[in-house]
Symmetry: C2
Amino acid sequence: MTALEEKIVNDGTVLPGHILKVNSFLNHRLDAAFIMEMGEEIARLFREDKPTLILTIETSGIPIAFAAAVKLGVPVVFAKKHKSGNLSGDLYKTTVHSYTHGTDYTVVAEKKFISDTDRVLIVDDFLANGKALLGLIDIVNQAGATVVGASCAIEKGFQHGGDDLREKGYKVCSLAIVDEMNDDGSITFRQQ
Amino acid sequence: MTALEEKIVNDGTVLPGHILKVNSFLNHRLDAAFIMEMGEEIARLFREDKPTLILTIETSGIPIAFAAAVKLGVPVVFAKKHKSGNLSGDLYKTTVHSYTHGTDYTVVAEKKFISDTDRVLIVDDFLANGKALLGLIDIVNQAGATVVGASCAIEKGFQHGGDDLREKGYKVCSLAIVDEMNDDGSITFRQQ
């Protein structure tokens, strides 16, 4: 998605340690109109796969997942990163390793919101090592539902999580794939 | 908003301790189309106040804030509940007391995303004691910006946070106000 690549170049910031900050439009300040355009692009990429549900993970996956859900006419379930006092009943649980924070965390979703007939599209803001997506795929599998694919706004191609999932046979479509990112701020995008 | 009152009655669950669970459409599973309708209603209520920015707080305020932002054509800033590793630069900070969890927590927003010329509409999913809204108002005041009002999906009228803010002169419009909620599941809404 050329408009996203341009936005990353113009508004993003590369920090040491391969951190790409897009706080100005995607995960602190939200450019609502632009996120709706990203949602439309995800809908275009996955409409033929007939998803019935979008699964994402709190917090920063929620806006783009919500935008895609509006465009596809399906609901969202956002998995929660720990057992909140307001979650009750039977939960699907999985463990995700965060390279960013160097810890494991538990992710949960209420069982009643994912049925075995659901065709689930997984959406998130970033795809790096792919551990969060693997956790969400695990939840879909526990539900006996079908994963139709995964879509992320920004994939860090050099961290290989997306390509690992593609090699396993999943349809993974990221709106922009960063193959190289240098401390001088220069970014190389993968041709898609 | 009659449609929301009906949805609360049909899909919500009253739990002991004045807890109203609306996990099935507002804060775990998201009914994207219905949340967009709520966003349209917030836009209708506040368009004349010419907001330039919507401020909310993670996590469950994000979808409805985002929907209102799409309808109003403005961006969202969502305040974060603790200092994340990916937040840097100058931050506005405030402390909010959570009655639900019995603790204080710090809420932050990057200074560069709220300017003194902004007209800020505060949006959240629930309004009970009003402590989260007061924290967000404090952030707007620190920025030297203007609070044009606050809108929440569901206000617990019997906890008085909304009426306290109205008495202070703020325009507070909730889409549904629950004035009574009983352990037998019955709910009385305020006439608006």
